[in-house]
Symmetry: C2
Subunit: 240 residues, 2 copies
């Protein structure tokens, strides 16, 4: 029996928030089964319909999955469904492009002013910088630099080489679930540094993507700059 101290919020919202808090705190881990509608209703002294509405809201936001006859489970970022949800590069036939790791360097350093501001760190707080070049069919197609709050990812440097997809690593090993990514895209000429790493001539047009990745509670946990060669690939997005 948990107490729901807040006033003025609808009951279903309080149940929703309480369950979400248990997920965020790690009390309920991805894959864990939640109490049934009936049990949840009893725990929070509401009707089954109200518990159902809270669970449905959690399902809509992607935090839990519901299956008739089986139960409600904390969502797992499964490889099939969303391993590459935030990776928007596609082949010309719109099939998912999956670049393979080519090189990787991880550094621990002090954040610059912009990074500290975006990641909500103290000035010059510690960050990890992951720089990777990836290729498709032996052709280098992207250079990505991810910057993370070092405190949230202890021992990250020792995990090198990192898996191809970083977000499942964040979730499984650090309990950080990425649910949203805001991206800014520009077309620019490759700098000499980028051109060198991607083995193209200087001033080749590249697609620059600046990403802020958010976790469940809305914190920016990753700032990433990517540079893509888009002669054979494109960035695909659906607006609705």
């Amino acid at each position: 029996m948990s107490s729901l101290s807040e006033q003025a919020l609808p009951l279903y919202q309080r149940v929703h928030d309480a369950v979400m808090a248990r997920i965020v705190s790690g009390d309920l881990t991805p894959g864990a089964m939640l109490p049934s509608e009936f049990d949840l209703a009893a725990q929070y002294s509401v009707s089954q319909g109200t518990a159902r509405k809270a669970l449905n809201k959690l399902e809509q936001s992607g935090l839990v999955e519901r299956h008739q006859g089986k139960g409600t489970f904390v969502a797992t970022t499964t490889p099939e469904t969303s391993l590459f949800h935030f990776f928007r590069l596609r082949h010309q036939d719109e099939s998912q492009a999956i670049p393979q790791p080519f090189s990787e360097t991880i550094r621990r350093r002090a954040a610059n002013a912009k990074e500290a501001q975006v990641l909500s760190l103290e000035a010059r707080g510690a960050v990890f910088e992951i720089a990777r070049v990836r290729c498709i069919k032996k052709t280098k197609v992207c250079h990505e630099t991810s910057v993370l709050n070092a405190d949230l990812f202890p021992g990250l440097k020792e995990r090198s080489p990192l898996p191809n997809a970083l977000y499942p690593l964040y979730q499984r090993s650090y309990g950080v679930t990425i649910v949203r990514a805001d991206e800014q895209l520009r077309a620019m000429e490759a700098t000499s540094s980028i051109a060198n790493m991607l083995a193209v001539s200087e001033a080749t047009p590249v697609l620059e993507v600046e990403r802020r990745a958010f976790d469940i509670v809305g914190r920016v946990v990753e700032l990433r700059f990517s540079f893509y060669l888009t002669s054979q690939l494109h960035y695909s997005v659906s607006l609705r």
Copy 2:
């Protein structure tokens, strides 16, 4: 009293589909008020809760808007909310960039093979091609070419000059509501033609956006190619 012949579908789904059919057919036009939950329930012989679930689903898909104390209304693509929902260009501070019309040409011509396929036309069916250059603070920043099924937009050519935002025009004057846009983005060198129209040197990097715009029933009604200069602006998108 409408009959809901289909079997095996949940009642709320049948009510949802029936109301959606009325909107798509033009029986209920944007801005029109829907029956209240109580009336709708009576019309389809279901409980108020079931009618409510159907209306909530319509609201989630953006087809209607609900306001406590006022009623439920067919969604209007209002200037404030979504006039520029599909226009993703932003200033550096993330404020909405609103380019002003600079030039416009509208042609009626036969569709090429790709256009016919994408727009589901017969080979060499009639299309309208709208080519526009737009600028911000007197600097040309984009060149856009939209291709439409001519049969869906009778007399479009005579409406020139078209308003800055095309989708409200599609909706108000032709009953075509755009609800989704799939976009493919690439960084490329400006062709001599594009460079000329945007008054930049050839081979300047430009952001190419290829868009397919879908209406309520899932038809592709517009194929658009845009070329943006992204030195002062960027394309902004939120993935979740």
